[in-house]
Each structure stands twice: as structure tokens, then as C-alpha cells.
Amino acid sequence: MIEHAVFVADAKALERLSGEYGRLYFGNEFCSRLLPDAAEVDAARRFARTRGMAFTLVTPYADDEGLAAIARLLEHCAGAGPELAEAVINDWGVFRSITEGRWKGSFIPVLGRLLTKQKRDPRIPGLSGIPVEAQEYFRSCNADSAAISDFLTSRGVGRLELDNLPQGLLRTGPLKASLYVPFGYITTTRLCFMAGADERPRYLRRVVPCARECRAYTATLSSRSMGQDIILKGNTQFFVNRSLPDDLEGLRVDRLVHQPVIPM
């Protein structure tokens, strides 16, 4: 039985959400400046509860300042409902806090797609003359290795978040997985392409303040050698793959995370 979840990053998008889903993902993976505040999380939880949806808080990688913001949200959410909320983790510091630190036992930890380590270059399906072992490597992820699976299990993590790779998926590990559709992330940076970049020409190698321009713009990068267009949103580049694998059960995928729009 596949669970259908929907990922919403912007609280304003909740009211426009349509479709039947069993779970709401809310938050951000790629930028701590896009984290919702406590009121927005409350609104999202209410939205989920009134529609009978389970709730998953999504957290990004972060510097110490961002980590403090994540901590405030975790504190706010811990024990806030009758059931434990899931927390998607994309930072080893957050992992530590949730699996062995202050919030141990307060959330169901899930390993986010920044930490499951798949190869997502859209050129991979077009590579020719690649040995079978390399092909299998490109369809796998390191989080499926025995050492990592055992470690995650020992810390209470039972789920991996995976992208729907255009080259296909190969699972070797025992953990359940969620599959993100249709957008897969390729790469991310702290040197945001869009922060403050619509006002004046600049070439910057620094982290700059932003007005969440990423929510106002979407760029498309086209190159013949890339195989497909890349979508650039804020600090992150994405591919699109709408074709689901045939054997989700065999891949131990029991949840689809639908992204109606890029979750930024």
C-alpha cells in the first residue's frame, strides 16, 4: 500500500492545495532562511489535522544560526500533538539533536535526500559504454550500505528519502523509502543565485541577505549536453522525472512525496 504525501514549502500555498493526500510534508530542505515560523507550522498542522493527514516537518542543513532556528521549531513541535510527528533530517547536527540529544524520542527521524547520497546528474542516462558495476552504482545510494543502515536503525531511523532517478533505482538496504516526484534535486549552494539578484548586476561569492526572491522566480537552464532542462530555484538545481519505477514494492518504496511545485 503506497502512502501519498504532499510537500508544501510555503504556508501560503496550503490554501491552494488540492488533491487527496495522507500526509503533509512542511518545511524546507535546502535553505534555513526559508524555514517556516512557529505560527506557520501551527497552521500547517491544523491544516493536516482537519483533513486527516499525518504531519512531517522538513528541516534543512544549516549553519549555527540556522540550527538555532531549527531548534526553536523542534521545541515548538515536540509533543505538540497526540502522535509523534516525523522530522526529515538533512543535517548531521540536526540528526544528532533528534536521535541522541535534546529531542530524542520526540520525533520519528527520517533521513532526508541531502544525506542519502544518490547520483543525480541528468547526463547519467545518456552515458554510453559504462560497465554494469558503474551503472548499478549510479542507481544506488550510500545510505543503503550495511554500515549506514545498521547505524540508522540503531538511532531509530527507519526511512530514507530518495529521488526518482532518471537512470532508475537499485536498492540494497533494508529501510523503507519515500520517493520524491517529479522534482529531484541535483545540487545546492549557500551562494544563492537569486538572493538580491534582480536589482543590480553582480557576481558574488558570498552569502547575502535575501527577500526570498526564490519564491518569486524560477529559472530554466538549457544545454544540449545535459539531456534535459535543469530548473533553478533559489540556491538549488532540480531535474524532473515523472515516470515512476514499475516495482515500487520491490524497491521498498511505500510512500510517494508529491511536489506540486518545487518545494522552496
Binding site: 542543513y61 548531521w92 540529544g101 546528474d121 552515458l127 561569492r205 530554466t220
Partner: protein, 355 residues
């Protein structure tokens, strides 16, 4: 502060140590691994074969030369591995230890966990691929037995200072020269090395001649907007960060034509050849010294010996300047003058750690 220099051939070792390197780091790209996975699935995150030593016999010689001169050798196994690769990687660990490597640089959590269990005495350093952006992450890896952390390029000096204060038992090192990719190494899943896969020996010859470095130095020497006007139309340019993308921008709300045009031009500038030029963080060396950074890491295993020597000599002099003058403005002016003198061009404001 230690200076860490890259090497990719035995002949480099004596010279970079004589120039001032305290530690050297290198990897091996075994033929068997390459046969199974090709060059684009490197065991050590350098997908150009010429960036690595060809064999463990070479590593043994590297270690012998380095140890005879009092320098340590750090061995890179800093890729991310799938389950079928773990046994092969473990063989590389055994070979590296047998060759006498002093420490391993790793990024893969699975390898780290396995080594902690099997070889608790082995000195482990966390690669930038470990993505430590905060103190809690640093503590997480310290709890797994990591002795040193190379922080990602995007961690700025004040953030690092806070981390060092929070983690007194850990050593931290920073990137200081070359290869300033805008993406986060440990979170980037793009391929590199596809040109070598496609063009084979011809590409290896070109890469070995270091022509890309001279070209990028030329880009750096251009003025103002001309620096970002060039992007890749060259056959063989395979880095997704430098591709000649057609770029379109759509607005979800109201945006003026000028805003759309400005944003498009700014995005395009990031995919210009300027993004491939080598940045520098030397102006912050004195701050790093004060906050207790252990090592300054020079990137560029595949660079020519002459480039490596210039980098090490430059950095050695910068470290020598650090601490002499409490005025950071004076220190930076001295560093920039030294850069002009040693590289024959201005640094051009391509900073790892902009002020």
C-alpha cells in the same frame, strides 16, 4: 598552522615539502577500480585520472620521501560508496596503511563507521564532503572518532570561529587556494570527468599539460564585465558549472522586464568561466591563526608541479606575515602585494572568504 599541499606524482613530494608544506595529501586511482567503474566514479573525488597516484607502490615512495623530511601523508578516500564498493574501499585502506599513510580523509559515513569499529587507532579526518556547517555536526563526527574536519568552502570565518569554540578537542582545516566551486561539495551530485571518459588519452594529455589553468588565469586577468562574458562553447568542457546554458527566467508574481533581465544576467555570470578560476582565502589567514585553525588546505591535486610550488611558497610567506602586524588592513595589503608578485597578476577579488 599547517600547510597541506596536494600531490599526484612522486616527483612532487620533495619539492612541495622543501617549499614549505607540512603535510601532503593524495589519492590512488587503482586500475581495477577504473575498470569496474570508469574514471567518473572515482574512489577519491578526483575524476581526472591524472589527479591521483597510479599505484600503491607510488604511495609507498611518497610516504618514504615525506617521512624522511618530517612531513605527514594524508590519504584520500573521500568519495561516497555504495555497498558493493565497501569491500574494495576496505582493500584500499589496507594498502594505504601498508604503504605508511598517516591518516585517512573520508566523507562516507559507512566507511567512517566501519573503520571506527575495525581500526579504532586509525587517524580519521572528515573531508569537506562531510558537510559540517555547524557545531552540532562537528560534535556528531567527533563522537564517531573523527580527529580533524575540513569545513566546506562556504563556511565563513566567524561561523568557523564559533565552531572551534564549541569543539575544543577537534582540529579544523580550511580551503585556502584554488577550485572555488559555488556548489557544496558534499551535496553536489553532478558528474565530473566525462570528457576523459569520452576522449580518453587525448584528454588526459591536455589535462596533464595544465592548459585549463592558463586559460582560467587569462579569464581572471580580464577586466570587469568581460570576466563573466565567456562561458563554455569549447568541446571537452564538461563541468556542469561552466556549461553554456540557455537561460530563461519566469516570475511567479509581478516583476519588471528590467528585474527579469538583471536576474538572468546574474545567473548567467555564475556559469561563466570566471567560476572556474581559482579563488584565494589568504587575506583571512591571520584571523584563522587567531581562532585556532589547524590547517590551510591547498586544492589542486591535478595541477602542475610549478603551480603547486608557487602555491606553497606563497602560503608559506603569508603564514610568515601572520601575527606580525595586528592591523588586518596592513596584513591584507601585504598579502595582496605578495600575490601580485608571485602570480604576476592581481588576485582580482576572487575570495573564498569575502570581507
Amino acid at each position: 598552522m599547517n600547510i597541506l599541499a596536494p600531490v599526484n606524482k612522486v616527483e612532487d613530494v620533495e619539492q612541495v615539502i622543501a617549499a614549505g608544506a607540512d603535510e601532503i595529501y593524495c589519492g590512488v586511482f587503482p586500475a581495477d577500480w577504473k575498470r569496474r567503474y570508469t574514471n567518473i566514479v572515482s574512489p577519491n573525488r578526483r575524476e581526472w585520472t591524472c589527479a591521483s597516484l597510479p599505484s600503491y607502490d607510488d604511495l609507498k615512495q611518497v610516504v618514504a620521501i615525506a617521512h624522511a623530511r618530517g612531513a605527514r601523508v594524508l590519504f584520500t578516500l573521500n568519495a561516497l560508496y555504495t555497498e558493493p564498493q565497501q569491500a574494495l574501499v576496505r582493500e584500499q585502506v589496507v594498502a594505504a596503511r601498508a604503504a605508511g599513510a598517516d591518516a585517512l580523509i573520508v566523507a562516507d559515513l559507512g566507511l567512517l563507521l566501519a573503520l571506527r569499529a575495525e581500526r579504532p587507532a586509525l587517524e580519521l579526518h572528515l573531508s569537506t564532503g562531510g558537510t559540517v556547517f555547524n557545531s552540532e555536526s562537528a560534535k556528531f563526527f567527533a563522537s564517531l572518532g573523527v580527529a580533524r574536519i575540513t569545513v566546506p568552502r562556504h563556511v565563513q570565518p566567524p561561523e568557523l570561529a564559533a565552531m572551534i569554540r564549541q569543539c575544543p578537542g577537534l582540529q579544523f582545516e580550511v580551503f585556502i587556494l584554488n577550485s572555488g566551486c559555488k556548489n557544496i561539495d558534499g551535496f553536489c551530485t553532478f558528474l565530473h570527468g566525462t570528457s576523459e571518459l569520452r576522449y580518453g588519452a587525448a584528454w588526459r594529455l591536455l589535462k596533464g599539460l595544465d592548459l585549463d589553468r592558463y586559460f582560467l588565469a587569462l579569464v581572471r586577468a580580464l577586466s570587469g564585465g568581460r570576466q563573466t562574458a565567456w562561458n563554455s562553447r569549447l568541446p571537452g568542457a564538461d563541468s556542469p558549472c561552466l556549461l553554456n546554458y540557455g537561460i530563461s527566467v519566469a516570475a511567479q508574481g509581478g516583476a519588471t522586464a528590467r528585474q527579469l533581465r538583471t536576474l538572468k544576467e546574474n545567473i548567467a555570470s555564475y556559469f561563466s568561466f570566471l567560476s572556474g578560476a581559482d579563488p584565494c582565502g589568504a587575506c583571512r589567514v591571520d584571523e584563522f591563526r587567531k581562532m585556532g585553525v589547524h590547517g590551510l588546505k591547498i586544492v589542486g591535486r591535478n595541477y602542475s608541479t610549478s603551480k603547486k610550488l608557487t602555491d606553497v611558497r606563497f602560503l608559506k610567506q603569508v603564514v610568515g606575515l601572520a601575527g606580525r602586524d595586528p592591523d588586518q588592513t596592513e596584513f591584507r595589503a601585504g598579502v595582496q602585494a605578495l600575490y601580485r608578485e608571485m602570480y604576476g597578476m592581481r588576485c582580482g577579488g576572487l575570495c573564498y572568504y569575502p570581507l
